[in-house]
Symmetry: C2
Subunit: 201 residues, 2 copies
Amino acid sequence: MGARGPQPSLTVERIVAAAMAVLDSGEAVSVRAVAARLDVQPNTIYTYLPDRAALHTAVADRLLALAGPELLTGRRAGRRRIKDYAVALRTVLLERRGAITLFHSAPLSGPYARTISELLLGTFTRAGLSDQDAVRAAQSVIAYVLGAIALSTVNTCADARPGAPLAAVPEPTPIAAQFHATWDSEEQFCWGLDRLLDGLV
Amino acid sequence: MGARGPQPSLTVERIVAAAMAVLDSGEAVSVRAVAARLDVQPNTIYTYLPDRAALHTAVADRLLALAGPELLTGRRAGRRRIKDYAVALRTVLLERRGAITLFHSAPLSGPYARTISELLLGTFTRAGLSDQDAVRAAQSVIAYVLGAIALSTVNTCADARPGAPLAAVPEPTPIAAQFHATWDSEEQFCWGLDRLLDGLV
DNA sequence: TTCACATTTTGCACGCTGTACTGTGTTGTT
DNA sequence: AACAACACAGTACAGCGTGCAAAATGTGAA
């Protein structure tokens, strides 16, 4: 039965690994860049993955795994577990330029994404929330975490630009200056996450 | 002094308006699409804006304005104002495919972004928060709102794809099915925002 | 052993993107 | 009238995702 034709030279696994290498090297995760790293024509990728979005989904899933889903298990308090994983994910994503954008061009449908959803849901139901509220809580946490990371990268990448601000901007209030200076602080990230969790559990 | 050379045929204002028209028509906001709508060569845009990121920043700022910053003022409770504006922004961004992505490729440095920052900060300080906590609270709210909208669009756009899931996925728990079905619900959005605000004020 | 066929991989191509460079024409200032 | 500043077009390049046809390659059946 089955496998006629030349032996496949790649696997999805190897493609994702190459994509991770591309990401680590600072380049964008394009189909062509990944193919080049595998010494293969770009089209070959399409034998294993339907399109670029699938590639992005797979890499995003790998990043979720890299952050260490095991942090979401164990005997510590559920709240502590969530914070640990969120901080680890933040680190993983901020260390790689362009990593967070993968989450915007591809759905969270990979196996690790599902695992993490389940773990989050379990944590919240064990904390006493109803099924529906657990769903809402988990989605809220994910929204906050990914949103915060996205804003942090967007605003820190941009401050390198000296550019003219398009329109005359009035004096930034002292408090507003502080506002724009602290986007990428881990402490800020944790503070907001703690306040959200205050409302959840 | 000043304006030598031929009279400019465009303004940043007209460019942003054209970009909004492009966005409303469902196309992506590319330099070329905007230029085409203005019956102008793509390069002409660069006379008025330094690069694509600046265009995106300007359009993102316009979207923030379209949501109605006046919702953030007035005599109603601060919490209510925040919720009203967040819901309006959500609607504005979800109505336009690709709108949220503008916030990921461009910094929030436009005048309306600053205005909204100030209004948020004012709301939180008036609620009794210290300057530092107001900064943190405002950033947290922005992170949640933009993150939730991003996840909502990513996951609803993707469900249209029938595609193979890359790897054998086990039975989705009933609760997990619910999880993936409610990404784009306004009620879910408000619930999470309420919980966050519970922790903030 | 030979043939047919399924399957991978390639080569080529198309249309799209952002944007750098060069030249041309218009304008206000000297 | 000459000049300098400026807007704009034309051309071009390198990159992107990906569709399609042909070639290479291996296995199962005859």
